[in-house]
């Protein structure tokens, strides 16, 4: 095949080979490089493991934090459900009207259940809880309003904004004198988690950059140690793409193995944390369990590792390959 085209310019060569043949030879080269680079790593695993371990640690830190953050959000959502809204009704509202309102609210969206506390019940509660029972006896009139305690039903995915909306809606009722919800602490926790989430991204970006540099530097050293080989390949007609390919694949492998190591580290850490966390949850009467990496995050970890590995080697190769020319 090559004999007949030897003297043909490149354009003619492409036409003669045909798209299918060209594609097959292109695929063949990639498959060859795929296994060739894997074999190279296999023959000298120590260097590769060191590089992959550094990448693994750099990936595991932000990814692990991300997993912990996910768990923390799960816990915080549980607390959302525990919040309740107290509706202090206006004094003029009759008991029948109050009970009707309670029933009506129970059927409306976002509300789980409503408990009605009559003025008398409120007084009894206050007497027994406050210890001012004797003093209250002096009062001729019951000063306490009747109260509706609303237990919102907040979906897992909804944040504090939904609670605020519900509160506004309840406050707008004509029977309601005062609607009270102590949400400050929930808000604070969400705000803290926002900071942590942002922190995970910042840390992730920095460590992603570190991965890029680690891979880039490793590939740069590999290029330098194979300088003679590169010169020889250039002299016998190897294109830049041909020379670049094994280095790109090597970077890809580093990233992939780094991702695998990161995954392993996270799972082992979670496994080590699982028992004490379950113990702590037990003390709070909760059946909360640590959740591991979900499939999508694990995939993103692998994908991110591979992508960073490829990108790092691409940068190194692009920067250093042109410098090496036969003389």
């Amino acid at each position: 095949m090559a004999e007949t085209q030897r003297n043909a310019p490149e354009g003619a060569r492409v036409v003669k080979m045909g798209a299918a043949t060209l594609l097959r030879s292109w695929l063949l080269r990639h498959v060859q490089t795929f296994f060739y680079t894997l074999g190279q790593i296999w023959r000298r695993p120590f260097n590769a493991i060191l590089t992959a371990a550094v990448i693994g640690i750099a990936l595991a830190l932000p990814a692990g934090l991300y997993v912990l953050l996910g768990n923390a959000q799960q816990v915080a959502r549980g607390w959302d459900g525990a919040t309740q809204v107290s509706l202090f009704l206006k004094r003029g509202v009759s008991e029948a009207r109050a009970q009707a309102l309670a029933r009506e609210l129970e059927t409306s969206a976002g509300i789980g259940s409503v408990r009605y506390i009559s003025r008398e019940q409120a007084l009894e509660e206050f007497k027994s809880l406050s210890g001012f029972g004797d003093v209250l006896q002096v009062l001729e009139d019951n000063p306490l309003p009747s109260v509706l305690v609303v237990f919102p039903r907040v979906e897992q995915t909804q944040g504090p904004e939904v609670m605020e909306q519900l509160l506004e809606r309840l406050r707008a009722r004509p029977e309601v004198d005062l609607a009270q919800l102590d949400m400050q602490w929930v808000k604070r926790i969400y705000a803290m988690m926002d900071i942590v989430r942002r922190g995970v991204w910042v840390l992730g970006s920095l460590l992603g950059l570190a991965v890029l540099l680690v891979v880039g530097n490793t590939i740069r050293l590999a290029i330098q140690s194979r300088r003679d080989e590169i010169v020889i390949i250039k002299l016998i007609g190897g294109t830049d793409a041909f020379i670049r390919r094994p280095f790109l694949y090597t970077g890809f492998w580093y990233g992939l193995f780094g991702g695998a190591i990161a995954l392993l580290m996270i799972q082992v850490s979670l496994w080590l944390l699982a028992e004490p966390v379950a113990g702590l949850a037990g003390l709070y009467g909760s059946s909360f369990r640590l959740h591991g990496l979900d499939f999508v995050t694990a995939l993103a970890l692998f994908g991110g590792g591979c992508l960073l590995g490829l990108l790092g080697s691409w940068l190194a190769v692009g920067r250093h390959l042109r410098e090496i020319e036969p003389t």
């Binding site: 003297n7 063949l28 002299l235 007609g237």
Partner: protein, 223 residues
């Protein structure tokens, strides 16, 4: 096959390695390039291998004007030129087979095709039984023959050799030159830089003599 028209090469710093060289080597011709060290032999070969570009003049190889060959086209042009080096330039971490196969792998040939061609090339240089060995275990003459097998494996129309017998004893040198003559006999153009004048005289091919960057002698051939 090779045509130089008023070619000069001046290196940065002002040193002129070649001045106003014009020569023509016809397809299928074999010639020696001689001259003292620093006469410009290596520079001339580097211009043909596109390692260097001329400062002035025109280099046309195999019908291609090198002035019009861009950086990206260089590898494809080099595939049509088999180059043999004095220091062999083999890859020492690969077997003889893999060294010889490299040009075919670069060109993207299929596996069976590569095996067939590599063995044919090794057979031609008499190293078929050493394909699984590493170059470091071979003698200098054998290493040079691996280099030659690699240069001819994809059947280029032009062979360039830079002092191919520089480190070999007269007996081996003669053998190596015999190999080049064999390739020449089947139509390959061959240009060999050498200062083994005794051997060159015995072989009786065309001789191009460079002196201080100028073509000082041409024993005949196409003009």
């Amino acid at each position: 096959m090779i045509r130089f028209s008023n070619v000069s090469k001046r290196y940065p710093g002002g040193y002129e390695a070649l001045s106003d060289v014009s020569l023509h080597l016809a397809p299928g011709e074999m010639a020696f390039l001689t001259g003292h060290s620093g006469a410009g032999k290596s520079t001339l070969l580097k211009l043909i291998a596109l390692i260097e570009r001329p400062t002035n003049g025109q280099v046309i190889i195999n019908g291609q004007n090198f002035a019009k060959v861009g950086r990206r086209r260089i590898p494809h042009v080099r595939r049509d030129i088999g180059i043999i080096f004095q220091d062999h330039r083999l890859l020492f971490d690969r077997t003889v087979f893999d060294n010889v196969a490299l040009p075919l792998i670069i060109a993207g040939h299929s596996h069976p095709e590569i095996g067939r061609r590599v063995r044919a090339a090794l057979d031609k240089v008499g190293l078929l039984n050493k394909e699984k060995m590493y170059p470091i275990t071979l003698s200098g003459g054998e290493q040079q023959r691996v280099g030659i097998a690699r240069a001819v494996v994809n059947k280029p129309p032009l062979l360039l050799a830079d002092e191919p017998t520089g480190n070999l004893d007269p007996e081996l040198s003669r053998e190596i030159m015999g190999l080049f003559e064999e390739f020449n006999r089947v139509g390959v153009s061959v240009l060999i830089a050498s200062h083994d004048l005794e051997l060159i005289r015995q072989l009786g091919h065309r001789v191009l003599r460079l002196d201080h960057g100028r073509l000082a002698g041409d024993s005949g051939g196409a003009r």
